[in-house]
């Protein structure tokens, strides 16, 4: 139970970073931290105490494995998170080239 609360605290740190920071790169860092917290939460839900990794071995026939379904879902989510980070970094570089700054309060006021 305390492990779930620590994961929620990590999520809230990322959320605070998105809400209160004015630099675009800090907002991107906040999005990445939220992605890590959500992936960790998925794998935490499917863990079995004293379980084994979900891979068969040639000499064992015991069948108490951890849950393989959340691990399969998180495997694609990790690569999707990377693609989203790359796309918003490209947009941030374009914004810097047009406005000259990363500050989000000044982007509205300057004309290109």
């Amino acid at each position: 139970m305390s492990v779930y609360l620590l994961c929620l605290v990590l999520f809230c740190i990322g959320l605070y970073c998105i809400l209160r920071k004015r630099n675009l790169i800090k907002i991107i860092i906040g999005i990445a931290i939220i992605g890590y917290a959500v992936n960790l939460f998925f794998v935490l839900v499917g863990y079995r105490m004293n379980g084994r990794a979900p891979i068969h071995s040639p000499d064992q026939t015991i069948l108490d494995m951890v849950d393989p379904l959340p691990q399969a879902l998180v495997l694609t989510t990790i690569v999707i998170g990377l693609a989203v980070t790359a796309l918003i970094t490209a947009i941030a570089m374009r914004v810097y080239e047009k406005y000259g700054t990363f500050d989000i309060t000044k982007i509205r006021r300057l004309k290109g």
């Binding site: 693609a83 790359a86 570089m93 080239e97």
Partner: protein
Amino acid sequence: MKEQEKGMTIIVKTITRLTVGLILLFGIYIVAHGHVSPGGGFAGGVIVALSFIHIMLAFGKEEAFRKINQNVASFFESLGAILFITLAILGIGSGYFFVNFMSKGKPFELFSSGFMPLANLAIAFKVGSGLFIIVIILVMFKISKEGDNR
């Protein structure tokens, strides 16, 4: 980014020449044994892309373009997508969409479990070349007024 066009120091260049072939081989191993041991197409594809990005970081982007052309990377990405879709549609002939129609051999062998090695290969092509193209575009972006040559 003048530093990247001339490459890095001589120590980095020597170590890169020694290790980049091993990184590529390790990536191919993780892709090929995706159904027997941990790994699979996603992690293996990213490792293969990282080996080419390693050449670009150490030697400059012109040297990396001599190894992998722009057309070659685009061809491999499309090839991965088409191979994956073809494996899915071929399953319609013997059942439903995406059925595993090849023979399932003995476990723990390299040619077992249906079309999973081929699907791993297709995913590795797509992920590896896609990520390489993304990093190349982000590096080639200049802040001056000249055009981007892509």
